[in-house]
Symmetry: C2
Subunit: 461 residues, 2 copies
């Protein structure tokens, strides 16, 4: 019996316990953006610290920060083996709109082979994959195959400022040969994939002020500034129906993809668009018609409005013209663009496009650079081999539209290869109601990561 | 001593009690649009029913309706005297944004000669003016000078469907020679005015649906429909920065004002715009540049967005693309236009202007026709004389931008003159935080209405 067979048997035998443990962790509402959940975020950190201790890490520790704490642990087995840095996050997104959840967002519920809960896929379930794989090694071999450092944060959904500061200040502590991040998606349950690109993010708040007080639309309608209307005009100028973002500096700085990549996007475009239509429940994709869907998701910048606050949105009718309105507007950016530079461009565009008669203020709530990965290194080749062995089909390399700001920082500060091997599925609805994680992916993920650790032993040094 | 002097002495002597009674009524949060305030609305109706009984009305009664109740009372004194129908409403607007109130919205507070509370001016304070004037007659003369019917509703801020049905079904009960409505504003504390025009209103909700579920802007940004963005594009198409409403049928049907009226609007335009700037705290008015401000408020149609719901507007950042978004959009309309006809035009414009890839639904929440009044009748002349006597200056006739849907219905069903004599001031911030009513206006209003009743005795039959 090979070591991997033994580890797989161990993982199968203990699978129900792993699901139970994940459920325990998921039930802690560690929403990092809401101050009322501050203690819950801390409890989620303490929970995973205890798990690391149970697995056998000698001194896992909670690292205080200006924001939510980090969790750090390391296990050094042999100077001749490579060191793998493992990253994940234990914080989750807010849950609204609450009414749309079929089961309460923090009551983990298994239905149809999936576990439903906020954080199930993003990212507690995927962190648990890594912990289960480590445990399988320790319990079957008495030790790990490579040196491991593990760093978990509690602010991934809230900008990640604390981990960024920590990484910049501790490059020696975090010194490693590669970093493995399980926080992305595969194309489908049958088609594993490795992510070679992540977009950066810029998240802003635009506040528009008109009159000094709310006004009655009867008495002042026709002469009063309406900040809600001004925001509509502004946003429609920043991005029109055609999906083109009207920031001149941006258009001139969007990278042109390689011919190979473009070919891949175009080859499967009909199939991919059909899959997207089914996932979203729509008849057509929206956006820039001249680019294939995967390029629009993986490489092109976006500008989205996530919410507009101001005036009256309750039951019935109120004829108020609000004094102020605020829009949450984010951009996704190709990896070559520094989001702080883009914030400057956006600031300028907002001031140009703003209708007359209003005061406008734009705030950068958080920003993170994107990532472009060259897959030609032993750590990514080993990941591809592990996926091929578990799924029976070669993985594809693809860009993902989301942002993991810390990934860019690891690449910049630690200068080591990034391995973005995620087990989420396109219909996991992360960041939305009824987030789930497939239990089959949960199980296959553990086995793949356990195998991956074996494959990088003796490699890459 | 004349009767009017006696009545004025009575009103001055009892003024503090009137303020206390108004405070008692104001403290009842009779918000008609919110279902949780249903019982409060009823309590406000019962409160005024009791006041009418105390004044001496024989059988005031609460009239149940499909919505909030009406309050009706009558006092017939003499077949040879005219009958005046008095209308007002005891319901109030919602109070959000709550944080902006300097004193709690339902704790009546006197500061600087004003009483602050939701409903202080609109319309409980003005109804109390009428009740105090009636009381002064009864207590000094033992009776009223004319026949009086009084009809108060609890749905003015919620569409007024119930009173509309009641008026249509009871034209004989409500038969009168004129209707007096105290629910409007004066130009300034020094310049009394009578309103000769009210705009109609159409209040709608536009719901836009994109995907079947909320989506993550990382994974789907670039291909996903964003209903919030679509609403921005739609609204900016319906009305641009220039304030022009892009509904072709509307443009062709806006009335052209008389030369006299245009002259009046233009004559004082600089002074009036300066006053509006001060009231609103802005440097410029917004809207259609080619029309004087008073024409834009009094006669031109408007299209305003009052709130946009959907996505995330809480603390921090959430990168959600919502499946659905809803905008509250109202229009103010010149008196010649039927709001139901305009709803059809708007429906057509929405369907034309809606970006591709979305489903859109527009609902007519409520609608009321505007009013244009010919001031040449004894009931308005008497009102002008009463104002001139109390304020020492001739009132001006002007159009007000707000809507009192029931006014149009009274004119249509009862075919009698409307007298819109209001005592609100431009800075009363009705429908907004810190609504107030000037105690000086409260006092002068009572005296004016008491005098008005004397002046219409023996007239107009």
């Amino acid at each position: 019996m090979t070591g991997q067979t033994q580890r797989n048997i161990y993982l199968d035998k203990n699978f129900d316990r792993f699901v139970a443990q994940l459920s325990e962790w998921l039930a802690i509402p560690s929403i990092s953006t809401l101050s009322e959940n501050r203690e819950d975020v801390r409890r989620a950190a303490e929970w995973v610290e205890k798990r690391l201790l149970e697995i056998g890490f000698a001194e896992p520790r909670i690292v205080p920060t200006a924001g939510h704490p980090l969790v750090y642990a390391e296990w050094h087995i042999d100077d001749r083996q490579p060191t793998l840095l493992l990253y994940g996050h234990y914080d989750v997104q807010p849950v609204d709109p609450l009414a749309e959840w079929l089961s309460p967002p923090f009551e983990p519920t298994v239905r149809d082979g999936n576990i439903y809960c906020r954080g199930a896929c993003d990212d507690k379930g995927q962190v648990m994959i890594v912990l289960a794989a480590l445990e399988a090694w320790v319990k079957t071999e008495g030790t790990l195959p490579v040196n491991v450092k593990i760093l978990l944060e509690g602010e991934e959904e809230a900008g990640g400022d604390s981990i960024a500061e920590y990484v910049r200040k501790n490059p020696n502590l975090l010194k490693a040969d590669a970093v493995l991040i399980c926080d992305t998606h595969m194309v489908s349950p049958e088609q594993p994939s490795l992510v070679t690109g992540l977009r950066g993010i810029l998240y802003t708040e635009i506040t528009v002020t008109g009159a000094k007080t709310d006004l009655h639309s009867g008495s002042y309608g026709g002469v009063a500034p309406n900040p809600l209307h001004a925001i509509c005009v502004l946003i429609s100028r920043l991005k029109g129906e055609d999906g083109v973002i009207a920031i001149p500096e941006l258009a001139a700085n969007i990278p042109i993809p390689s011919a190979t990549e473009k070919q891949f996007w175009l080859r499967d475009s009909l199939h991919i668009e059909a899959a997207l239509h089914a996932e979203m429940g729509v008849e057509h994709c929206v956006g820039e018609k001249n680019y294939p869907a995967l390029e629009r998701i993986g490489l092109r910048p976006t500008l989205e409005v996530h919410g507009i606050k101001g005036g009256f949105t309750g039951e019935g009718a109120k004829t108020v013209i609000p004094a102020q309105a605020t829009a949450k507007v984010s951009m996704r950016l190709p990896a070559n663009l520094d989001p702080h530079t883009v914030f400057g461009w956006l600031e300028k565009a907002v001031s140009t496009d703003m209708p007359n008669g209003y005061r406008v203020r734009i705030t950068n709530l958080h920003a993170g650079k994107g990532v472009a990965i060259n897959p030609d290194n032993p750590f990514i080749r080993a990941a591809a081999d592990a996926l091929a062995a578990e799924y029976g089909v070669q993985p594809i390399f693809m860009r993902e539209g989301g942002s993991i700001p810390i990934a860019a920082l690891f690449a910049e500060v630690l200068r080591i290869p990034l391995v973005l091997m995620g087990f989420g599925l396109p219909d996991d609805t992360v960041h939305a109601p009824n987030e789930k994680f497939s239990l089959s992916q949960f199980r296959k993920g553990m086995k793949t990561v356990a195998d991956y650790l074996a494959r990088i032993r003796n490699s890459g040094i």
